[in-house]
Symmetry: C2
Subunit: 318 residues, 2 copies
């Protein structure tokens, strides 16, 4: 058996503005997808274990129970198996990442599967090759959509600065809390909405995007110096600017204000495309626990994470 795991990701600053050329900052998080493969003569079987399963549906005519999230993971894994011409394998997925939440769950599944399958076949792909293949496959499954950021973070880990190119940054890890609204997000429609707003009101949206880009750049030295009070304030500003272009929601605001209020967070913002999905919060002096409680109370699902964690890696035999 060969096992590989890859991290999820959060966007710390700059989502949406990055689509129009502003700088963004992303970080890998230690919620990982783990893929184990083993020989299974004569057939291909994809098994899900400990996947955060939601959205089961039961088809009365066929008597078949299907799970949207397992189907979703299966689509990505099938694309990898096809790429590597696999015909005799059992693939087992474990993931701590909620799907369609903007945490790069599909990218981490693709990257971990590429790493596990290629190594099981005796190949030694470089990280660069893993990232390239994974990006190509993710894009194919998403029918042309998707950015290289998620697969790059799942592959290399750490932090990435994204503008015209994608550049790794040497920055220390940070403890944060991710709050999941339990609403799926739809990157495509959120991006489209924002780009349409920009077309109609470029005199408003252009300066907002420039301010967001400036935030991403100001954040880097603050993370380096661990000036988290100031960093939190920049997160709050970024969140408001995202709300101004229409990508926040009642559920996201509830979590953001719960975090800043009773949760004692130094800063909180939505992360990723918005609408639904997740927000992130930087713990204050009282630490992580009040933040976890406040997000649960505000009907979210909180995850403790560390940013800037390791990228794809092979795991010891289970």
């Amino acid at each position: 058996m060969t096992t590989a795991s890859a991290p999820g990701k959060i966007i710390l600053f700059g989502e949406h503005a990055v689509v129009s050329g502003a700088t963004a900052l992303g970080g890998a998080i230690d919620l990982r997808a783990k893929i184990s493969v083993r020989d299974l003569p004569g057939s291909v079987l994809i098994k899900t274990e400990d996947l955060m399963l939601q959205g089961f549906s039961f088809d009365l005519t066929t008597g078949r129970l299907t799970c949207a999230q397992a189907a979703y993971a299966t689509r990505y894994i099938s694309a990898v198996l096809k790429e590597f011409d696999v015909r005799d394998m059992q693939v087992c997925i474990e993931s701590r990442l909620p799907a369609a939440a903007g945490l790069g769950s599909s990218a981490s599944i693709v990257v971990a599967t590429v790493a596990a399958v290629s190594r099981h076949q005796g190949q030694c792909l470089s990280l660069r090759e893993i990232a390239e293949i994974s990006y190509r496959l993710e894009k194919k499954v998403q029918q042309g959509l998707g950015s290289p950021v998620d697969t790059a973070l799942a592959t290399y880990g750490g932090y990435l600065q994204i503008s015209q190119d994608i550049r790794p940054l040497e920055l220390p890890p940070m403890k944060m809390v991710v709050g999941y609204t339990k609403l799926p997000h739809d990157t495509k429609s959120e991006v489209k909405k924002v780009q349409e707003l920009k077309k109609r009101h470029s005199d408003l949206v252009d300066p907002i995007f420039r301010a967001i880009g400036a935030l991403s750049e100001k954040a880097v030295p603050l993370i380096k110096e661990q000036n988290i009070a100031e960093l939190g304030q920049l997160m709050n500003i970024n969140h408001g600017l995202l709300a101004s272009i229409g990508v926040s929601s009642r559920e996201l605001e509830e979590l953001v204000y719960a975090a800043r209020g009773a949760g004692g967070a130094l800063g909180a913002k939505l992360t990723g495309a918005g609408g639904g999905g997740c927000m992130i919060a930087l713990p204050g002096a009282d630490g992580i626990e009040p933040l976890m409680v406040s997000l649960r109370q505000a009907r979210g699902i909180p995850f403790k994470v560390q940013t800037g964690c390791e990228g794809v890696r092979l795991e010891g035999d289970l």
Copy 2:
């Protein structure tokens, strides 16, 4: 007996940015303060009737019941009575405006009192004189703070564009809903907080203020053409920009998203200094009622208002 009434106000666009020179747009609303004065030989008595009273306190040592809001109104009326050297008068206040909510309640009380007292003494002040005296008295009671906008709107009614100077605009009335969070707001501390943020991050706050100023100017032709769909979108953008500079709150966001969601509003934003106070919402195709319900459900107090209404006026004898 002589009776005068004056309207409250909302800021439609541009609060906070106007402090730094950007354009703002304010409108009078048909929630009015009414002041009736009559001779009362030998003494001065201030009576409150139908005032939205909140925050009573009972002093155990003196056995005296005091009401913060009545005390607040009394301070402004006393200043007017002193200005006009009144010694024998009963003044009766009725107001539909919540105090300290950012709706210009003190300005409307001062303006209506100046109008009623001066007329009762047989003087015929011009609107300009009423506005000037009222602004001077409001500023005195607020110990130097306060802008001429509230007293100007209470005096002239209609709409005002505020930048270097204050300019009346000819615009049609609009039906809106004001949602009161029941939290008092503190203009002074909110303005100070924003100005401090601007000092530390002028490269972020300056473009945000410029975008807010641009919104105020774009709004004028939309109100003229009654293009309320587009106007609502600008309100939403303005709200996010205000949130980005830290003047929103959980309670305001709850009302804003309730209005935009179940309330069917075309747009919703906080109005005035923020923190607490009020938000405003532009009704959608289903009209005012769903908006009233959604704001009540979100723990706010909704008021139906019409913007751009008449300024100070003498009322017929009761």
